[in-house]
Symmetry: D3
Subunit: 236 residues, 6 copies
């Protein structure tokens, strides 16, 4: 019944390949089916002006999509400026990752997570969060190995997955054909221990009931378990 | 325990004054405590290019804040461009209102909802949605009175309220002092019949449990009933 | 003969309501007929870089119009940038107010006057100057009450009114229907004692004689007296 | 008493050299003392969209200053965008020239006047208007010679001069050292027959009396006669 | 003597992997040592307005670099606009590829080549041209296979390589450590048959003699043979 | 055979008039046939932040074209931003001039060369370099005369000329009619002693052979001798 033939609670195959670029302090390529996102973490010993002498660290994110990551070519944002959608997504990624960062433990430095979509098939913001956490983990590991950070500032895993109501049925991990048809969809960011960080459910030209929301949250919880397992495998 | 002395499930006083400006096809000033938003609805018989000859109507929104609506003066966006936050909010308002619009019934025209914050004390995006719906209702009424629209294109009321966890306790309708301290907060958009349109729960440097989310949703549902009643009163 | 039925030297009803917003150090809503402008004054203890250590104060202004303040909706400047007209107006407001400011007496601080047009029916720049001065007066009063300023830095009232030649006849205080038809119009900024600060007379596709200019200036002087009286009433 | 040793009613030497560039339909270099402005007129058979099928012509202007036209180098506007001052000036030039254009006689086409300041010593906007009119005259002549325009659309000469109160004394045609000291200055645009087009008197941190304004206007009228004579000489 | 231990005329290992993204009509990942560029070709049946009804095709290029492609993180151009360097490079890529395009044979359509640098170690513009040609070749093949284009519009291979004078010695295919030290460097674009398309030699704070230029051109010719061979291997 | 009737190796008449503006520390108007460029040099004792305390001087350039310098009026870059072409040209001018600057001898200050095209007929970037060097020379002379610089920081003359293949034949110093037809053209920057600084040869929809390049370089060398002689004459 789903275009891909998947069961309602079945995720796309996930893989996370680490250390894929030479220069970044942490990096991975995350592949959720045909959605591929390159995530890098860059350590910057300078913090933004409003944080100076606070003793606190900061994690922020930027998001982009290559013009031909999509079915039809999109405009290059370097020529047109970042869209509202792009800004919304990168604010979400940063907020999600910061939920499990102990800022005093990180110390007064900044880690910038760049999430660049190489190929898109739905769910790019969720893949960015899940992959971005792995890049962040690797960068923090390097700081700890170098003795610059003593206590681990990452308090838990962070991962994200989308759910939605497609053809009247709640389904997990929407791909692009589902996403473009679903009247209701949501993004769920959870920790490794199952705590919620962000819930965004949204209807376009439709509405939904509270028990549907509950079902979607059940699906999401199961999906997050799979993603956290993939993070752990990648980091072994 | 709340800075304002309100009970956990107590909203600020709400008032909606209609037809406050002379030129707009629909308008109101909504006041939720010290948050005051001027909402206007403008009918434009031209639709965006990508909608031409579709026979479908469109509702969109723009949001702004006067520089000194806030405690300390903010930069004027006309000089600096719209922030990511502003764009995120105006996308939300438009999406929320469209959820209860029958686009073929509206006919091929556009209604633009402008929400301008005159004074801010938390919850401006929610007030914008609740007040914006009233402005939209008035503009649609004028179209129906003029015989330009036959079937009512508004399928239900739309209203929004914020909730959050303040000092460890779930509370309804956060004002600015609460909002700036709360680690978890959310915005809930519902219809008059209690269907969900948008749920946005978000933690900054914190996480929350599923049952807390459930409590917040209960609080929100009660708040929405109050707001829909205020909309009805205003429109009599 | 005038669309509104007013006599040639008759102004629209003027009212100035003070302290209309909660956060600003000074504020008023000025209503000249159907033109309504919200004026706020914000004190900023930091001055622009080029004024540092000069010991001199500064007064500047910003101007905006809500998109649906006008008969047909205008574009939001936050999305499109400030127009040349807007920049011209806000430079005028600042220059006009500074003419009666004793900058050493104000001390090294800045007062920013925001003039936001809530509803427009001609003469918005003049209303902004007249109302802006009231907001400035209130902010300066607060500085004096707090003992931060000893000598009153405001040396006189400042008010402004438009005049023009409509249907061949010099008239005072043009409203929008007159303004859009008049080939010649002007803005006159005067002090409470009748000194001139700014005279801008301008013809679009027309010219005028020197004695017509003199008549307009007579009308303006009378109008300014009315406006200064309204300022005094508002400040009692 | 004036830094240049000129009498109070004495203008700087004026010269207008025509046809100084090869490509423009009309051009001149106007020199008012050390202020040198290159003015070109370009005929464009396409009118702006909002004028299509009106049968009316249009005249507009753009203004710029080379970065090192001034005593100290200014920022290049191509890198920083046009300042408010630049936009204000170019709006004034276009409006001034249009006052003596018979738009139906010009026919549905546009003439763009570019005024670029090669060297500045005060009074660049006035020189731009006086020189811009000569460039416009030459371009219109070429249209008439080609038989594209039958009735002369220019109804009179247009010229402009500045006056101000320097060291307590009204003086004509301010140069930069005077302009930067004068608390009151004004720009006067008149026709060849002595009708007024634009009067802009402005005080920065000062005020002025009505009889001072009258004196300045007398000075300006005399100055305009000199400028119109120079235009006539140049066009022989 | 070279930091990498390469001989003066020795290139870095080159590989070109084709069809690396799912959506583009042509794509490849080109790797020249540690410089990795993803090149995609997108067919657009609409041409730019100035080419309409010309019957001619067009090939253009855009270039970008992921923020952490480099040793230290660069600013994201989507937030800051394209730099002069970026614009210069993308103009070069487009011009280089068009040199071997038979525009009437291509027919009135556009092919856009996106070159996005995933990892940088010098020579990114040259890799973009060499890889961009492969993506273009694949997109043209798909047009020919679909019968939309009859005669092959690509008249020859196009490839590019850099050379420069490092530590006093002419060397081929500079990597980043060499590039940042070389006072003279150049980029050479040639066809498969050895014709020149573009020669750019440039000195920063230095000069060079004509026979040095000749030596660099010899080195470049040899390098181009290697690159064209790699293109052929990739396309088998 | 050339549109102008010139021989293949014949340059347009060149003249360089110095000290043409009153404020700049160095200036000239260079005329290469109908291409006229005003070049000014401005000394700025402040250097860019990244050069502070280096003890090194800097030379940079900006380039612009008046809107009606060309056959048909171009858009004003102050309204539209600098094009990629403009940025490319000004980067080239700065790089070319710096090749013969002894930066420690100049001392920690900046010289900004502004090249503004008053009239264009091909070869504007080359004229800018040749004229820009004269303006630089004059500014440096003034520094030396004032005793601010002891050792001459200019190590040689710098001049530039274009060549191209027009109607199948290599020709020197292309004018606009040739430039717009030539499939291959190049810009050559040389020192007074004949060393190369920059070679840019570029084909649009064409290719060229190595011996053609050699012929163009011969032509250019001869042209540079003429230009350096003109620089010397101008500076006597």
């Amino acid at each position: 019944m789903r275009p891909s033939g998947r069961a309602v609670g079945e995720m796309r195959p996930v893989s996370i390949e680490t250390s894929v670029t030479r220069h970044a302090e942490g990096s991975c390529m995350i592949r959720c089916g045909d959605t591929h996102v390159l995530c890098t973490a860059s350590i910057d010993e300078r913090v933004p002006p409003w944080m100076k002498n606070s003793g606190l660290g900061w994690v922020t994110a930027e998001y982009g999509m290559l013009p031909r990551a999509t079915h039809t070519r999109g405009k290059r944002e370097a020529k047109n400026g970042q869209s509202g959608r792009t800004q919304e997504i990168q604010r979400l990624i940063g907020r999600a990752l910061r939920a499990c960062v102990d800022r005093p433990a990180l110390g007064e430095r900044q880690i910038i997570i760049d999430c660049d979509v190489i190929q898109a098939d739905g769910g790019t913001r969720c893949a960015s969060i899940t992959g971005g956490w792995v890049a962040l983990r690797l960068a923090v590991n390097s700081l700890m190995k170098a003795g610059l950070v003593r206590t681990d500032p990452l308090t838990d895993h962070v991962a994200a997955v989308s759910c939605g109501i497609y053809a009247g049925q709640p389904v997990l991990d929407l791909d692009y054909p589902e996403d473009s048809e679903a009247g209701v969809d949501g993004n769920f960011v959870l920790t490794g221990r199952g705590r919620l960080i962000e819930v965004q459910m949204s209807a376009e030209g439709a509405t939904f009931a509270r028990d549907e929301m509950s079902t979607l949250l059940d699906l999401a919880s199961a999906g997050i378990d799979t993603l956290v397992a993939a993070q752990k495998t990648a980091l072994v």
